[in-house]
Symmetry: C3
């Protein structure tokens, strides 16, 4: 038993600790094909090398959320093996495209700690960075989780709560070098709607739904080397159900949002995110979006659009919270992100 | 709601319209591996680069049915989103091999329209062409579907029914450039039976069966970016079942037919096809074939064989229709195709 | 019916027969990605090209068990289509790495035959070799299976039982050319434990469990072109269950063993193996290991460790057999193998 990894507990973290996460991963055309098998992903820039070339890139990079999942998966053994809940995301930015053949690894810095008043758990804040084989940062985000203490009598650390802006400022978004939407082919992309056609406050029901199977969410989660046992082992939770990795819901909802947001090609920032309720096999996932903001960029023909993406397992579109401000029970995900879209 | 694609209805089509389908797709080794995971595909030419080289090709091309599924999937949003039924196929031809790294897109021309007497639906005929990144046609076929009208009072179009030969003439089949079966290795291919060993009228029971799971057919269908909701959403049909994409049955039956037709390496034509009854998860798919015709080709050592491929979910092999000429309820697929086989 | 393969029966084998198995297979990045989707595989050498380079290799080779499964799958139509039971393995050695783009085929030599006293079945011993496109052996192992006779009155062959050492001697293990663990990065690999930290007799509970789904084991088995019908067809066994391919359990247990044996990077030998009880969908697979032996190698920084890997579907860790020496009913696999690990 002494050789297996028990994970870290709340009292094991110190402000400033840098955790180098294990198992680098080379990603390529296989992962890309799998992503298209697991999700109804159709954004043209991630589907076609030719389309990506017509947008100024050398070929189609790996889907933005592949990068997120690979990096997130690496953090699980060090950050969330003993987590009770995934509480939030902030300050997420995609910094460089990931190309087939690149190798990703991840590091996290402890930036906040706050013991809960019950003395049994605490909130841990980490800033995670994904790096490629040249040690260039490709992605970064802040996540905070509630973690159990190993020993409830261990002293509480000094409380440090990081100052986290509620959004990524538009001028902090990184547009991939060379990206140019001036010759963008709206017919091949699938929809005619451009940056100027979306209004702040506009809501879009993405209409389609997907009923989720155990085999699918387990394969997706394993693909990212995320091994948290609640996703795989029916004996890990009292009711025998396997909890679906929140990232599976993110990717499913994002793919469903093609229908109405086909031109919101690349995710470049995450402002906030909440996994509002658990998702289980048998649930039928649907999605709706709301335009929260718009911004210009310096790249030719490229605008930025800030979107709320909500995934549900039922209920009416556009319903989010009850009159006490609590998420409705059918809401699975409330994600606030920036995407690049042709102007 | 105004930004999502409601699909076209019967009155939206005009003879001569050319529909450029969205979302080009680069295909490669990932898709090839997935095809082998989803189907018990074993035809050597699509399994081994070395075998393909020994047959005069530069490497193993993508499986003929991968090309069909990718092209078919692209047509769904423009052709069959409001379809009631997929009625038939004709004049299918594979025109060029697709190699790993190629990017496929698709176009369809409206070649026939006939409103049904109930005034609620009509039959739409399209000729679909799959194209690679050099705008070369790799595949073409005619499909006709029954489509709903948006407005039942819309006037009926002039009836145009295309003149469709019931078979692709053998001299119209395209043999891939360089294909040469004179040094064909029957041991590596898995069976000794050559063109001359098959007799017209001969029937072959392919023996093996595969019980189908929801996760598998959904992943297969998504892989081809076919997003018709009946395949994915348990709330889309009154009985809560998910209808299996007809192409999944085609690929499953074709793969099962290896056992008895291991040398019928490449599909080069589709003469006709009917999805006789729906297939649902839990069904055990089996297949049998009948030799319908044989023809010579100009390529060295390469013959053509015309086959009926029947997929069933039960019943006895070789039973197809009842005494009124109606497909038996256990018949899923009746496909009439041409394949290339060593002489 | 005459064209399908009925498989060989016991009386069809002769000592010295060499069976050339059909359907060569080119393997690449797609198969690698799928392996990571199907199993929680995390050994760094098979996950990252960069990690593999830091260990002296040109890039990450295909996972050792991918090679085993591909070769094993090819033997099924000739060796085990009419097998009643898979009885054992011996003398397994990995001889050369398999790189993306390599094409594998397999041959088996009949090295033993012994008719059972009931006259209905016999035991067949074969030595199987996997070969790459240059006809170099990449893998070899001996397997014995119980095979049915077609005709119970057929005469018994002369009994030949091969002399099979119970282990592969450490000096017979082949270390891949160039492998060098002197700069091994234990942080990236995921655990600090090296060769010297493991003691003979030490037992490790790998803690994690995975509940298995039908779709997953069927896809895994198909991926290796293993088409034995008991794995796919609910009508093939009296109780309607689909038997899970024993190799699926091997790969699942090996991947689970990362937790405690993250540095046992490469399997290089199989001494013995027993599929103790059948595994069915719904079973939750867990694993434990025992250190059986240790040896040095000539490669810099590279040691060998001999491990017993046991997969279970319940019960307590480290329980293997009852007091009569029979495997406990919850034990699925008892595998005895050699792996390479940094010293």
């Amino acid at each position: 038993m002494g050789k297996t990894n028990p994970g870290r507990f709340f009292e094991d973290y110190r402000i400033g600790d840098v955790l180098s996460h294990a198992v680098p991963r080379t990603v390529g055309g296989g992962e890309r094909a799998l992503y298209h098998m697991l999700y109804p992903a159709r954004h043209a820039l991630y589907s076609s090398d030719e389309f990506a070339k017509s947008c100024g890139l050398v070929s189609s990079p790996l889907d933005d959320l592949i990068n997120f999942h690979v990096v997130f998966g690496k953090t699980v053994p060090d950050v969330s093996l003993n987590a009770v809940a995934n509480l939030g995301y902030a300050q997420g930015r995609w910094l460089l495209p990931v190309w087939p053949g690149d190798t990703l690894r991840a590091e996290s810095e402890v930036i906040g700690l706050k013991q809960n008043s019950n003395g049994k758990t605490g909130v841990l804040y980490v800033r995670t960075t994904g790096l490629n084989q040249n040690d260039e940062a490709v992605l970064e985000y802040v996540r905070w989780v509630m973690v159990r203490k190993r020993d409830e009598t261990a002293p509480a650390p000094e409380t440090v709560i990081p100052d986290l802006p509620t959004t990524v400022a538009a001028d902090q978004l990184v547009v991939p070098e060379g990206l140019d939407f001036t010759n963008y082919d709206f017919t091949l992309a699938g929809e005619p709607h451009r940056w100027g056609d979306y209004e702040i406050g506009e809501q879009i029901d993405h209409v389609d739904g997907v009923t989720i199977e155990e085999a699918e969410h387990m394969m997706a989660t394993r693909l990212w080397q995320n091994t948290a046992k609640v996703h795989f082992d029916t004996s890990a939770r009292p009711d025998g159900s396997r909890l679906i990795y929140g990232g599976h819901v993110i990717s499913m909802a994002r793919a469903l949002s093609f229908n109405g947001l086909a031109n919101a090609q690349m995710i470049v920032g995450i402002n906030a995110g909440a996994h509002a309720n658990p998702c289980l096999a048998g649930d039928t996932v649907r999605a709706w979006s709301e335009v929260l903001d718009k911004a210009e960029t310096d790249a030719p023909g490229v605008g930025a659009i800030r979107l709320r993406l909500v995934a549900t397992k039922g209920g009416a579109p556009f319903a989010l919270k009850d009159d006490k401000g609590k998420y409705l029970p059918e809401v699975l995900l409330d994600l606030d992100y920036w995407a690049l879209i042709p102007t």
